[in-house]
């Protein structure tokens, strides 16, 4: 019999699971008419979960026989996920109604995906890692194809599902190899084992297993060469779903990435570092180059997110506290910038239909100067221009890389961000200097407007009090490495 106290660390997840099922029931019995209320309740649930999360949080705790761990790192990441998920629900309310895909399953699925992500972030065992990952992925496959009648959306969901299954297979294969050669699936057990190896180094099978594991995780963060689903899914999925894909699962996956690599495999950094460096460089370069030719803003953002993950992986490649802190700060800022940008994409609607071409933004500065200003600020920030937040995100990452002696990586990163600046700035140029295209419908919706304003303000004024986030990230990184 497990005492209730032992379950306390997992209280947020339990609340989330129960509420998810209750909302599912509510939706089933009340029908699609209840979508709006279910959505709002789901957001409320997420906030409650956040409160529970912060009140339960107290140093490093484990549950379920060590399979589940809670620490400052998990706390920080879970908050980011909560924010990302609630924004995704809020942004969808109006959109789904207008596109007549307002179904109560959407918020419920987001809640379950969130639960999966929570599990990923707190995973302390290869088994719990896989469970969390699959719970998340299954929910995401469904929401990617949420607009069932649309060919593109179905195609996106299917592609994601097939490739996701492949990556899961690789991951599982990696896990089984690791288990086969190490004899344990527990992170703590693995860590102890690797430490005891001393100078002899790990066996080949273990290393191959680790590579497969990395490949599976790289798929989830859409790092090159496991990125190819990203543009298609981003383009095909309904925009709020894309916004969700761009932030929450990325944050969860990168958290998992960090937890696995610097946790149990931290000792083997010499072995995995070059793999991470390689996919980091490939992601940055491809993200910068491939986005140049894109006309569709959602595809462009897909490549942008591939590039951004490349930068985050720089931090992981260092394996140092400064590097981890850099990733956390980077992901926080990345969340704000992406959500804000997707708010703008949501507002690109002309005579009742969504438009997604960059050319449609032409002359926005004259038609909707405030929206253009917000998008310009976000784009400047993405391009990493001071004093906006995006600059600091990159700054901390590059600083960590320099401190860790990864000069080549830092230089390539800077060069890639110069190339990347081209397409961010091009959007600004189109908005401000091109002949105006037709006016967009003025139907942004209150929630979206509020999110846009909030994220833009965050990006603009991050410089005033960067310490709030940087210190939180610092504590989280310290705890992760200490544990």
């Amino acid at each position: 019999m497990i005492s209730l106290n032992e379950l306390m660390p997992a209280l947020p997840e339990i609340v989330l699971a129960c509420m998810g099922m209750i909302l599912l029931m509510l939706g089933v019995f009340r029908g699609d008419g209840s979508t709006r209320s279910v959505s709002w309740i789901a957001v409320l649930v997420l906030i409650v979960v956040g409160v529970v999360l912060s009140s339960v949080q107290n140093g490093r705790m484990t549950a379920f026989g060590g399979q589940f761990v809670v620490d400052d790192f998990a706390h920080f990441m879970k908050w980011l996920i909560i924010i990302g998920s609630s924004f995704a629900i809020l942004m969808s309310i109006n959109f789904n109604e207008r596109e007549s895909i307002a179904r109560f399953e959407y918020p419920v699925l987001i809640l379950f995906a969130t639960l999966g992500m929570f599990m990923m972030v707190s995973a302390n065992d290869l088994i719990s890692l896989y469970i969390g990952l699959e719970l998340q992925s299954l929910s995401l496959y469904v929401v990617a194809a949420f607009r069932r009648d649309s060919l593109k959306s179905s195609e996106a969901g299917l592609k994601y599902f097939v490739l996701g299954a492949l990556s899961s297979g690789m991951l599982l294969y990696g896990c089984s190899l690791v288990y086969g050669f190490a004899g344990t699936t527990s992170f703590e057990g693995l860590a102890t084992l690797f430490k005891s190896l001393g100078g002899t180094g790990p066996s080949v099978g273990l290393v191959v297993g680790l590579v497969f594991l990395i490949a599976g995780l790289a798929f989830k963060v859409s790092a090159v060469p496991f990125h190819m689903w990203t543009p298609d899914v981003y383009e095909g999925a309904p925009t709020p779903v894309t916004a969700f894909f761009a932030v929450a699962p990325k944050i969860a996956a990168i958290a998992l990435f960090i937890r696995v690599l610097v946790g149990p495999f931290g000792v083997l950094i010499a072995d995995w570092q070059q793999v991470i460096v390689l996919i980091s460089i490939a992601s940055m370069v491809l993200g910068a180059l491939a986005a140049i030719w894109q006309d569709n803003i959602k595809r462009l953002l897909a490549y942008s997110s591939i590039g951004n993950i490349g930068y985050a992986l720089i931090g992981l490649a260092t394996g140092t506290e400064a590097g981890i802190r850099g990733i956390l700060v980077y992901m926080t800022i990345y969340l704000a910038m992406n959500v804000g940008t997707f708010c703008c994409v949501l507002a690109m609607r002309r005579t009742g239909r969504m438009v997604e071409n960059i050319a449609d933004l032409a002359g926005l500065a004259r038609n909707q100067p405030l929206m253009a200003l917000a998008l310009a600020i976000l784009m400047f920030s993405m391009a990493g221009i001071p004093p906006l937040a995006g600059f600091f995100g990159k700054l901390y990452i590059f600083l960590a890389a320099i401190e860790a002696g990864l000069y080549t990586l830092a230089i390539i990163g800077v060069l890639a961000s110069v190339v990347g600046a081209f397409y961010y700035l091009r959007i600004i140029k189109i908005m401000y200097f091109d002949e105006p295209a037709e006016v967009f419908d003025r139907s942004m919706g209150r929630e979206v407007r509020a999110i846009l304003v909030g994220t833009t303000l965050f990006v603009t004024f991050f410089i005033v009090r960067p310490d709030i986030i940087v210190e939180g990230a610092g504590t989280a990184a310290r705890m992760l490495l200490a544990g």
Binding site: L163, L166, A215, F226
Partner: protein, 643 residues
């Protein structure tokens, strides 16, 4: 308190008029700036009384400016006699010019901007003269350069005004380069740029040497020459004078304030201020003397044949600055500053008078289109006479006392350069008198050469313009007589205190009182000759000038084209620079750097980007294949590096 106020009131005025000109309108901006200047001028007179006449020099510390390692600079205001004299000159002339401008500029659409610039200039000039260290001096120096640039180019719609402004700025850069090097050298030598520290340490460095341009030189000579290059630029001395005549593109009040009375004398002020250094660099003093004398001669010759009324006065200014410099060059700093003092009044008077003429003639500046207007604008006519008499140095006018003193000091120096300066000065004096009366006769006498419309419109300027003229004319009449004893006469030592330093062996200024009688009389005599000649050529035999010009056409063209300095510089510096710049731009930057750099890289990136996009085929099995290849590749890499 009044010390600080006197300095900062113009800045306050400039800031208010400059920033809030739109709300204040013309009237408000004029009240703010003119009021500030009036107060500032009043305070300056009080300061002169306290500092110079009562002999209480003081230094007011405002704050520490820069502290960086061993380099410490305070921001403090130095008030000694030299400063006090300059304060009075600057604020009084500036005040007169401010008021005069109310009338002169009332047609202009951007009056607040003009007054803001004028006040800003005054502030920088006051910063310059109250400087207590080289850096502050440089700050003021550059500040007046900026204000001068803004004011010359005030009518920025005129291409010629813009060109003149840029020219003034660039030529001054040449001088400033020397000046900046000099300051750096001073810091290198003394480890400080504070005036008192430097001056006190100078006697000990009299024999020091320093490395410069690969050779070893007498350190003080090098420093003083470098600093003097700065002075040459600002004071338009031979070689760096080309900007001054062009600067006449600015509004006439600006010419009166900046390009006659104040800014151009900054070089003289600097040499006087640094007299403790120059005294130990005799060669540098000789150079100052020769350059000054040559400028006095050169500018006067050019002034003989110019037709633009303002340009004549501009060359005259250039020439008079030469007098001041050669006075300094024979260690008669007091005489130089005395001439600066009197010159400020009568030259500002001449410029403002010329402005009044131009105003009356509907913006006509060419003297060939004037004439016969003296009966229409009698007051201006009288003022121009007073100014010219003072300039020519006829007895009992201001210029008489100072100019004679300068020439006598040069003679009394009893050295080669002294005699050179003396004779150059005498020849220039003939020409000064000649061109001054040529100007008077061509402008006011003879047959009217303007069209009827202009002539019908000729009118005396309003009171707001004539009263400043009268104030300045009082200066031109009495400044010499009143100042003589204190500046260069018996009260000299008491008056100057420690502000000017002269080695006991350099006695030119004392000996100047005991020169032979003919030396004292010669300047007056040659002045009269010049006037007589002008009368003969422009009143009695009006056909003479054309005949002379035709007969000596080579000389005439040589003078008319200002000794071809502009053409020479154009060939030597401007065109090659232009050529090199264009070459670097088209070939170096356009073809080489853009081609290989931005453009080349951009096209490469576009190319790559296109290929990368093609990878995205849309087929799931392609994607899956990429993933598997990726994993296989990573594993291979791993095993390869391991084994």
């Amino acid at each position: 308190m009044i010390y600080v106020l006197a300095i900062f009131l113009p800045l306050v005025g400039a800031t208010i008029a400059g920033l809030f000109g739109h709300w204040l309108k013309d009237k408000g901006a004029q009240i703010v700036t003119c009021g500030g200047l009036l107060l500032s001028a009043t305070f300056s007179v009080i300061i002169l009384n306290e500092v110079a006449l009562k002999g209480e020099p003081q230094t007011i510390q405002i704050f520490s400016w820069i502290i960086s390692g061993g380099f410490e600079v305070d921001w403090s205001l130095r008030f000694d006699t030299l400063t006090a004299v300059m304060l009075v000159v600057v604020t009084v002339v500036s005040c007169a010019v401010h008021f005069y401008s109310i009338g002169y500029m009332h047609h202009d659409p951007s009056v607040p901007r003009f007054f803001a610039y004028l006040s800003l200039f005054t502030f920088f000039m006051l910063m310059l003269v109250t400087a207590n260290n080289f850096l502050q001096l440089f700050f003021g120096w550059e500040g007046v350069g900026l204000a001068s640039y803004l004011l010359i180019g005030f009518w920025y719609e005129k291409p010629s005004a813009n060109a003149a402004a840029i020219k003034a700025f660039l030529v001054n850069r040449v001088g400033d380069f020397g000046f900046a090097l000099g300051i750096l050298g001073v810091f290198l030598m003394y480890g400080s740029i504070d005036f008192d520290t430097v001056f006190n340490a100078t006697p000990g460095k009299a024999a020091a040497t320093m490395e410069f341009l690969g050779g070893t030189w007498h350190a003080l000579t090098v420093l003083c020459l470098l600093l003097f290059i700065g002075a040459m630029g600002k004071s338009a001395q031979l070689g760096l004078h080309t900007w001054l005549p062009d600067a006449m593109e600015g509004p006439t009040p600006v010419s009166a304030l900046i390009h006659a009375a104040t800014m151009v004398t900054a070089g003289v002020f600097m040499v006087a201020r640094l007299s403790p250094m120059f005294e130990y660099a005799p060669f540098a003093l000789d150079v100052v003397c020769v350059v000054g004398a040559s400028t006095a001669f050169f500018a006067a010759t050019v002034g003989l044949v110019q037709n633009d009324i303002k340009r004549v006065i501009a060359y005259s200014t250039c020439s008079q600055l030469g007098y001041m410099f050669f006075a300094c060059g024979v260690s008669a700093y007091a005489a130089g500053v005395f001439h600066l003092f009197t010159h400020a009044f009568f030259k500002a008077l001449l410029f403002l008078g010329a402005g009044s003429v131009i105003h009356a003639m509907s913006s006509e500046q060419d003297m060939r289109h004037m004439g016969g207007i003296w009966s229409h604008i009698k007051l201006t006519y009288a003022m121009m006479w007073i100014g010219s008499l003072a300039l020519a140095g006829l007895p009992f006018f201001a210029g008489f006392y100072s100019k004679d003193m300068v020439l006598e000091a040069a003679f009394a120096a009893d050295s080669g350069v002294g005699f050179y300066a003396f004779w150059m000065g005498i020849i220039a004096a003939v020409m000064t008198a000649f061109y001054s009366w040529r100007l008077l006769f061509m402008t006011f006498h003879g047959e009217p050469r303007a069209d009827e419309k202009t002539m019908a419109h000729v009118h005396e300027s309003p009171k707001v313009m004539t009263i400043p003229l009268i104030v300045l004319s009082l200066g031109a009449l009495f400044a010499g007589y009143i100042g003589y004893d204190a500046f260069v006469g018996t009260g000299m030592n008491e008056f100057w205190g420690k502000a000017i330093f002269v080695l006991p062996t350099n006695t030119a200024i004392i000996d100047a009182h005991h020169v032979p009688l003919w030396v004292k009389l010669l300047p007056i005599f040659v002045g009269l000759i010049g006037i007589g000649l002008a009368y003969y050529m422009y009143i009695m035999r009006t056909d003479m000038p054309a005949k002379v010009a035709a007969k000596c056409w080579k000389l005439y063209l040589f003078l008319y084209n200002k000794w071809y300095f502009d053409e020479l510089y154009d060939k030597l510096f401007v065109q090659p620079a232009n050529y090199i710049g264009r070459g670097l731009w088209k070939e170096g930057d356009g073809t080489l750097i853009d081609g290989l750099g931005p453009d080349g890289v951009a096209s490469l990136v576009r190319n790559l980007a296109g290929r990368v996009s093609q990878l995205q085929s849309g087929y799931v099995y392609h994607y899956a294949f990429a993933m598997l290849i990726g994993v296989a590749g990573l594993v291979t890499l791993y095993l390869y590096t391991l084994g």
